[in-house]
Symmetry: C2
Subunit: 271 residues, 2 copies
Amino acid sequence: MTGPARTRVACCQLAPRVGDAAGNLARAEAAIGAARARGAEVIVLPELVTSGYCFADADEAARDAIAADHPLFARWAALAGPAVLVFGYAEAGADGRLYNSAAVLVPGRPPVHYRKTHLWDREKLFFTPGAEPPPVVPTPVGAIGLLVCYDLEFPELSRSLALRGARLLTVPVNWPAVPRPAGLPGPEVVIAMAAARVNRVAIACCDRSGDDGRGARWNEDTTIVAADGWPVATPDADGLAVADLDLAASGDKQISPRNDVLADRRPELYG
Amino acid sequence: MTGPARTRVACCQLAPRVGDAAGNLARAEAAIGAARARGAEVIVLPELVTSGYCFADADEAARDAIAADHPLFARWAALAGPAVLVFGYAEAGADGRLYNSAAVLVPGRPPVHYRKTHLWDREKLFFTPGAEPPPVVPTPVGAIGLLVCYDLEFPELSRSLALRGARLLTVPVNWPAVPRPAGLPGPEVVIAMAAARVNRVAIACCDRSGDDGRGARWNEDTTIVAADGWPVATPDADGLAVADLDLAASGDKQISPRNDVLADRRPELYG
């Protein structure tokens, strides 16, 4: 007998710095290599990993923004090899606007881009919110959904990705440090655990570390949550979190002999 | 200077037993008295507190079911005095069907009844799911929403209650015992914490204890969660959980200088 097929998912908790694009790319590329060396089949990097987060103004946000057809995407797809790669970046739109975007790179296919639709605080000063819903991307390991940071705090979005067939939600994040009662998971991890459980879908949240060169602090709460809602991986000393997930389990929504988390919905009552 | 107005909320974690209606009422009435003695302004009892939960069959479920105009409601309203009282009961509908119902008793007003809309497992053998959305009930301490147990696992419902102005969600529950990783809150408590945080609404979940006379075990996870998503009360040795909540805080949805958890929604993207 063999167990269920497992998919190795890695999150790389990095420390980008505003104004250090070359260093950011080097750190990200090293992390992709480290995740590959661990056999990761899905690799998730943080939000805005190419640029850092704590921009002083719109000019600074624009400085390291890249277009969605930038050569970086092909280069990182090559680095990721057979793995699916997910990461956040500052996008210089063809319309002249900036977006807080993320991409899913699936081997042999064009990148799938998503523009964060729920902007957090000062992001509203620099970025335009996306106008399209988050994608569900077919991949060799199953359908992967994509959200960016504050998006996850809207349960409507995680639900919609589950209804559209996502087996794994990948979530590049930058979670600013907030206090929490002793002994409890961070606030966004609680939200991820609940979203996983009520949708029976695995969720990989990749947070950042470092101070961004601006003195900022972060929860550094990178967590991979299984479809049953329990955390299964947090970062090691190198910032790498690795979990072997049964993504087929994310396709099974039955949680009792007579209950299915999606079929039990009563949308006519939710208006 | 005075602090914000506080509302004292109590959950009474009881041990109903199937087939012991008189004992169930006596236990509940003693708990209402104990909560009143602590100055509770809102008192929450468990799901199906009058009848117990683990019915062998539909006949047994029907045996202690009561109509929505049963004298019990007036008697318990009198016992609760100036407090708002919320509890679950097995309802014998005028249509001949059984419902897993709950009531909100507000002093001086007719009871508001709700029939659980999301039935758990064997409940489907005995009960008919409700056809109406859960209520938001105006009370002297603010608008109170009502859900019953598994309802809470549908984030659409907690969201809809928050959008309709609920400051406190009251949730009579019977949470069957399930394993959890060491050091983490119970699964439904995680869901309640997330629902509180993403909606900025307080939530009072009243679980049950005992074995129902049928050997069942329960999480016994009664928890009152503040609008910031953190638990603020669990039961004492007598099963009583008491918290002083700032329900005005539940009306303030702003969580950063530029973010409001309800105004930030993008419903056009959730379809």
